[in-house]
Symmetry: C2
Subunit: 509 residues, 2 copies
């Protein structure tokens, strides 16, 4: 027996992990969010500037948290000229390159904003995306605490512009100098301990997820997780660990009495670390920042010092901030969800300097748009309802060109409309099923009889759907049934459709 | 002598070739364009859907023009699981994957639009970008000529919505079947000649750039370009070349008499190739399409058959279209620029089928947003004028918090405002220079005297700039000088600034 010819293998339609398609509701929600954020950032005097998706790998630097191998976490490839290029993993590192490259032409301080996709080559995991959107604002060329204060206030204003009520978010403020001071005080300051300090930083950054005990393990020899994987710790001794934990226990959440951060800062200053000048400078920064925010009416209900905040990115050098959503809500399966951080930022005085060879202070704030959008969707702040679809002009034999002309007439009047482009032999029922699936407000019907009379039938699909839920034979039903399909002259079609759209409250946008 | 310690090498701030940063005017122009295109596409009944930047390399397929090595032209890298992934080189191939993956849930025909960045790993060259923006619409699941006709009409409507006057653009329409028919007729039909046909296609696609003689060389043995590089040709014999050139000479530009494409199509049908059924089917398609477009009022001044159009992408199977800008204009250096194609598309009946193993007809249209934007900017259709900057509150000693509060007050009233965040010891002159560079409409000044009196000075920077061009000592000058800086009570500041903004016609957006 001869072998059967092999059937050619079909290509499988699928996406690489950590990537997602986006439908109409999601796209509309992102657009609405982006517009609101932009409005706030522009009110704060920031102007747009955008950089491309790729940068030279060395220009981006290696500042990602949780990455032990070089280049891990970043999508990189070698260019034709052998140089390595990478997709941006955030919007800050590319901005630093941009400012350095255009330094002399830019106003200083240089205040700019941008949003766009960033890429991280993360390990697989639920909810871990490899492409997501950020919206950043940065002030480069100012070392003033007022610049940091502004970022915190803008973060708060942005949350409220997005419909998150006061009390449901918190901008948490800390200073890398405070932790640095403690680490100096316990004997791991200096360049020779730079790696160890980084491990400490990453351990503290996991406080939310692992709790104090987990952090304690990571400050010591290390920690074995549920899967049995072991993460090496910072190898601090027992006394050193106790000191760091003391600091973390002093977050100062308990003693807010009059909306001022002063009391918490006084307490921190009372710690024995304050003999260390770095620690003490960190406190002074925070005093200046909170003095400004509080004078502008932002009390501890909105902006609050919290020394558990460290931010994972390596490039921060001073004040750091994080926006936390305080909403507890349930996911689709009824499980409680705590959103945690939806944005953050801080001072990165070293990032532009890498290119310039001179100090260039800078501070910035970044919103995780994709993450925040997921949160807002869950609390119902973003519409998930599909928009009304287009008016569908159905097709029954005859000349396609005639039907197409009706469509053109509707479109010319600004009405979203389309010709049924499926098989023109499909029944009215099949064409209506399509219109329903498109969420169309109405359909236009013209058979040969209507054509001869110069009329069209207009079928109100919104009313039609209501009818389906009414008891038949009642007066209301019969009245509505008459209203749900009616005829008019061809040249009245536009006006009648416009009336129907208004009657049904259809407004596209 | 001991060696000097090496100075650490400064990182160079630069972008990889073929990538560009974008400033405020460019970003605003893209936004305006995208909004207008979206409005037209939605009026045509298309709904948004977006795919991510990456796809599996095999899902994208290899359809790029001008690429001889596999994978050339595409940015690809190997994922952790050894599978190859690539950045999308257009928006059509990813859509085909999306439709195939979600086939059962989608309405059919499925009409969708999307815009976004695409990436091509092009060889270096002026004006050749490796990241650019496209805006696409596609109808998947309809083989109707009405679907193709709609793409052509939408292309025309979009150009006009973007401010390109009728007569300054042309949608050119052709059919791959016509060329295929000719190639069958001259003996290079069939699977065994697939590569040769592709070389012919690419040769014709270069007609604009190389002229008939260059195409003739590429149809034959090949062509040596100015740099001495040799491109191998399709190796057609003299008779075959003559036949293809005959076709190209029959573009039919000369005989437009009444705005109808019929005459041109009649002429094509008169060619001896029309005994070939593929050729003849191609003509019939075009007759149906142009019948629809002409019935809807789109004459040959807007949509015209032209058999020199082939489109470079391999995946087209039937009608193809291209939008050409007919504007001749000059670049910054006064050299004439002809923009050529700013968009195009066609029918790609095989692209979704690769995944489905069943026929899925589809047609689409794509605007090269970046390319069109360059053209519109050059003809002055897009504003290049920078927007007004924010109101700048200047700083003179005293408490920063007090100045910041003024800024917060202005912002709360919806006024774009910022604190001067440069060195607070900078002189008024230095701070004004910054405000000028930001294009600020006015600045707020409060020294210690003003503070004691509870007043602020408002400096009108727009009027100030006008003053600089007036002769001094004239009445007008003195009057304006008084108007250009005035004082008011602190609590009148918002109202006075709002008046000034209105007086100077400052409207942010």
């Amino acid at each position: 027996m001869a072998e059967k010819p092999k059937k050619p293998q079909k290509l499988r339609a699928r996406l690489p992990r950590g990537l997602a398609d986006r439908g109409p509701a999601e796209i509309a929600a992102t657009r609405a969010m982006v517009e609101k954020i932009r409005e706030v950032y522009e009110r704060y005097g920031f102007e747009p500037v955008e950089t491309p998706a790729f940068e030279y790998t060395d220009a981006l630097g290696k500042f990602l948290p949780d990455q032990d191998r070089p280049n891990e976490g970043v999508f990189s490839l070698q260019d034709d000229d052998e140089q390595w290029i990478s997709l941006r993993y955030d919007l800050t590192a590319p901005l630093a390159r941009y400012v350095a490259e255009n330094f002399d032409q830019l106003p200083k301080p240089y205040r700019s904003y941008r949003f766009g996709w960033v890429f991280r080559n993360e390990k697989p995991g639920p909810g871990r995306f490899r492409q997501f959107m950020q919206f950043d604002a940065d002030t480069v060329g100012s070392g003033s605490p007022a610049a940091d204060a502004e970022m915190c206030m803008m973060a708060a204003d942005t949350m409220e512009a997005l419909g998150i009520p006061r009390g449901s978010y918190l901008v948490k403020l800390n200073n890398r100098k405070i932790l640095d001071g403690v680490l100096e005080a316990i004997g791991i300051g200096g360049d020779e301990h730079i790696k160890q300090r980084l491990v400490v930083l990453r351990a503290i950054d996991k406080l939310d997820r692992l709790g104090l005990q987990g952090v304690e393990q990571l400050l010591g020899e290390g920690r074995k997780d549920e899967s049995g994987d072991f993460t090496r710790g910072a190898s601090l001794n027992a006394g050193q660990i106790r000191d760091v934990i003391t600091l973390l226990n002093f977050a100062g959440w308990g003693d807010i009495v009059d909306g001022s951060n002063t009391h918490t800062l006084d307490e921190w200053e009372g710690l024995r670390f304050s003999v260390n000048s770095t620690f003490s400078a960190g406190i002074q920064d925070l005093r200046q920042i909170t003095k400004i925010t509080e004078a502008s009416g932002y009390d501890t209900g909105r902006i609050r010092v919290d020394n558990t905040v460290v931010r994972g990115l390596e490039y921060y050098t001073g004040p750091v901030f994080e926006v936390e959503l305080l909403l507890d809500t349930k996911d689709e399966k009824g499980r409680p969800v705590r959103f945690g951080s939806v944005g953050g930022g801080g001072r990165y005085d070293g990032l532009v300097s890498r290119f310039r060879g001179e100090p260039v202070p800078a501070t910035g704030f970044s919103i995780g748009v994709s993450r925040l959008q997921a949160a807002l969707t869950l609390i119902g702040q973003l519409g998930n309802k599909p928009q009304a679809g287009p008016v569908v002009v159905t097709v029954f034999g005859g000349e396609i060109a005639g039907y197409q002309k009706m469509v053109a007439t509707l479109r010319k009047a600004g009405i979203r409309a389309e010709l049924y482009l499926g098989n023109p032999k499909h029944s009215l029922g099949q064409q209506m099923k399509y219109a329903d699936k498109r969420n169309s407000p109405c359909a236009i019907i013209q058979g040969s009889d209507e054509k001869q009379q110069g009329i069209v039938q207009i079928k109100d699909l919104i009313l039609g759907a209501e009818l389906a839920s009414l008891e038949k034979d009642r007066d209301e039903y019969l009245k509505k049934q008459a209203e749900a399909q009616f005829s008019c002259k061809e040249d009245e079609m536009v006006a009648k459709v416009q009336e129907l759209l208004q009657r049904r409250g259809v407004a596209w946008g």
